[in-house]
Symmetry: C2
Subunit: 435 residues, 2 copies
């Protein structure tokens, strides 16, 4: 077979998958080990046809996937591998650029800086920040906190709230930093009045926490950072996307004073995973932390950006190509349309919960995530979650708030319709009735 023929088959498969994904069970209906048991124990000695790979993808792997692209995937933070983004990944792999220094992939380096500048404009960020792409928010945060540690004159503590994402814990451990967690208020926002910045090299403020999408009081935190000379890192991995709509920019207050900011384009900005955008108003601090150019990589392109000097990895994929394709094929209006629709659907679902006496809301809803539960005890809600997810009709996740088990419905997939959200509510009420 040729690349063209195998490519047609792969493209057919992808096209059919996107068309039929809404008929598949959202959550994988398998037990641990089932896939491994069906795969050969040893690799083949002789070449097989690509068609055999597609066949096993269907028969062995597909039933064992949790379908993030299913329009009724309402767990964690949903995402969308949009069509232009998917096709751009085909091109990225074809070109197989490795961004080490500028000269190894000039188009990649320059497009990355430009596209991050475009996105900064779309989100209304201050002009002049340096942006680049990391694979995940975990690594973006690691990079930012590493720069903060190096700039921190020996201070070894990172401060965040009890609702900060676990990736901050992980980054602090890797970097050998202590973590101090500040309590939250009744709406799950960091208590800025309790901020203790003794020995702090950095504070992580979150806009859109993982459990409830609460928004930390960034202006007050920025004040405290300025007084203490601590680095302010803002984690807006999910919610930062909402800033493409001006009516959501209330949540951006204070962010203009950040030293670094992460927004994941692979969450709510239609870009296939991975594409985590990291901006900094102090890029020279990132460079001080990471730059290290050995002789065998030295070139004379002194004026160009070598993006590998701003983060932990040396070789970097041409990820900007997919973000570029997405921003062009959706435009500002296309991004706004999706975000606004998700906010509308979340408000609608929230209103249904509010109006039904058997249910209760458990947190304010700043963006597209609704925290709710069935009135009654934790066990009842836990069993309900297991039951609705086992149907395969929807997939939702949970969290714990005020020591209670709470359900989360998160809107984030561009293919989700009002009908899908209504079906989720129907499934929840139906399964709640079967005690």
């Amino acid at each position: 077979m040729t690349f063209r023929e195998d490519g047609e088959a792969a493209l057919d498969w992808a096209d059919a998958y996107l068309a039929r994904v809404r008929e598949l069970p959202v959550l994988a209906q398998v037990k641990p080990g089932e896939v491994q048991a069906r795969l050969p124990a040893a690799p083949p000695d002789e070449p097989e046809a690509f068609a055999a790979v597609l066949r096993d993808l269907d028969e062995i792997l597909l039933p064992a996937m949790t379908h993030w692209q299913h329009p009724r995937f309402f767990a964690y933070f949903g995402n969308t591998g949009s069509e232009p983004g998917i096709l751009a990944e085909l091109l990225v792999a074809t070109l197989n650029q490795v961004g080490i220094l500028w000269r190894t992939a000039p188009a990649s380096a320059e497009l990355e800086v430009t596209v991050l500048d475009w996105l900064a404009q779309l989100l209304g960020l201050p002009s002049g920040w340096h942006g680049h792409i990391e694979d995940s928010a975990s690594i973006s945060t690691l990079a930012a906190l590493c720069a903060a540690r190096e700039a921190g004159g020996g201070r070894r503590t990172v401060v965040c709230s009890e609702h900060t994402h676990s990736s901050i814990d992980k980054a602090a451990r890797i970097l050998g930093l202590e973590l101090r967690k500040i309590p939250v208020d009744d709406e799950f926002r960091m208590r800025a009045d309790l901020l203790d910045l003794a020995d702090a090299c950095a504070v992580v403020a979150t806009v859109g926490t993982t459990s409830t999408t609460s928004v930390d009081p960034v202006p007050a935190i920025a004040d405290a950072c300025a007084r203490a000379g601590a680095w302010l890192h803002v984690d807006a991995a999910y919610a930062g996307a909402a800033w493409v709509c001006e009516e959501s920019r209330w949540s951006q207050a204070g962010v203009e004073r950040a030293d670094s900011l992460v927004v994941n384009a692979h969450k709510w900005l239609l870009t296939p995973f991975d594409c985590s955008c990291l901006w900094s108003s102090r890029p020279e601090a990132l460079r001080d932390a990471f730059s290290l150019v050995p002789e065998y990589l030295r070139t004379s392109d002194v004026d160009a950006f070598n993006i590998s000097e701003f983060g932990p990895a040396l070789g970097r994929r041409f990820r900007s190509l997919k973000l570029w394709a997405v921003l062009r094929c959706y435009g500002r209006s296309g991004l706004q349309h999706m975000i606004r629709e998700h906010l509308r659907l979340a408000a609608l679902f929230e209103s249904w919960v509010r109006d039904d006496d058997a249910w209760e809301l458990c947190a304010p809803r700043p963006f597209s995530v609704v925290c709710f539960r069935l009135k009654g005890d934790d066990e009842r809600n836990e069993r309900l979650l297991e039951r609705v997810n086992a149907t395969g009709e929807i997939f939702i996740s949970h969290t714990r708030l005020h020591d209670r088990y709470v359900l989360r419905l998160a809107l984030g997939n561009a293919r989700t319709t009002e009908e899908d959200v209504r079906l989720a509510w129907d499934v929840l009420r139906r399964e709640a009735a079967h005690r």
Copy 2:
């Protein structure tokens, strides 16, 4: 336009690119800033067609690329985005799986463990090692050294040779570890007799160093590590691929005693970038260093592997799909065929240099990289490098050995033929004659 139609156009583009890449200049013939100057300063408000993206890819980006897929790309370590790997990336983006916990992407988690086991078999590694995929060797090494630090009982020094890759320096800096560099012998191998393991939590031994592909004396280093209780990390990012051929396994001596090992499938194993394979004989140490499961991610799948607990990132791409496609579509014999052909071509080029009095070889050649120079001073060789790369006919890189400027010709692309290597030699001699 539909996904199918845009997809056809993207596939046509990819197919045509692979067919015509050998006619393009290998090294980008642009100056820093030229791409940025041609890109719009602001993103579009309204959607554009995907065809417009393809058009600008051709007109603006393509002339500014260094073509890693060009068969006469002989710089650094060459790579190949093979056809099955490219098409698998299309599928990866379509499925858009995010591996956080087992249940979020069961097929991804289990395929990754299985395929790393397959590759371990192909390379002749000990059975029972736990393997997973990171994006780059930089991150694989960071993960391994983080585990070593945590297991090291407070010891804070990493030991490596003067010829170790710069990513070790970077990882040590991030982890807050001191680096001790041991001198090399005349053939650029770590002087095991000079090993000083005072306060060492880890030693990094390299099989296939970046400058000359020299092989550190791993058995002696493993002895020293065993005596000192230090973690042995083996960096075989490039050369480990050669172990698919039994005649290259002389360079694997001692590796069976490693605590961790990195081999990049995206270098010499036909997998599009990124796919760095990290194995460990002490996976529980990696888990101790990285595991951190918060309430909102807790599930009952206690028996399954949650690969995010073995490395720094939380969300992980479905990278195993492309490695699986490559291993199946090439099979053991296909991989061996490519590696043997590259070793043959490197030996051939080496013989031409050896037989020409105007040139000299500068290092032994264990694998597919030849280190050589024109007899004469550094300036002459530097000017020669600039001149041959400016032709666009070939792209080679350089290093510094015994304080002399040395040229490197590295074989690593599957599309390279004997004719391409001969043309490289012709270009080098032609440009050397034009003083």
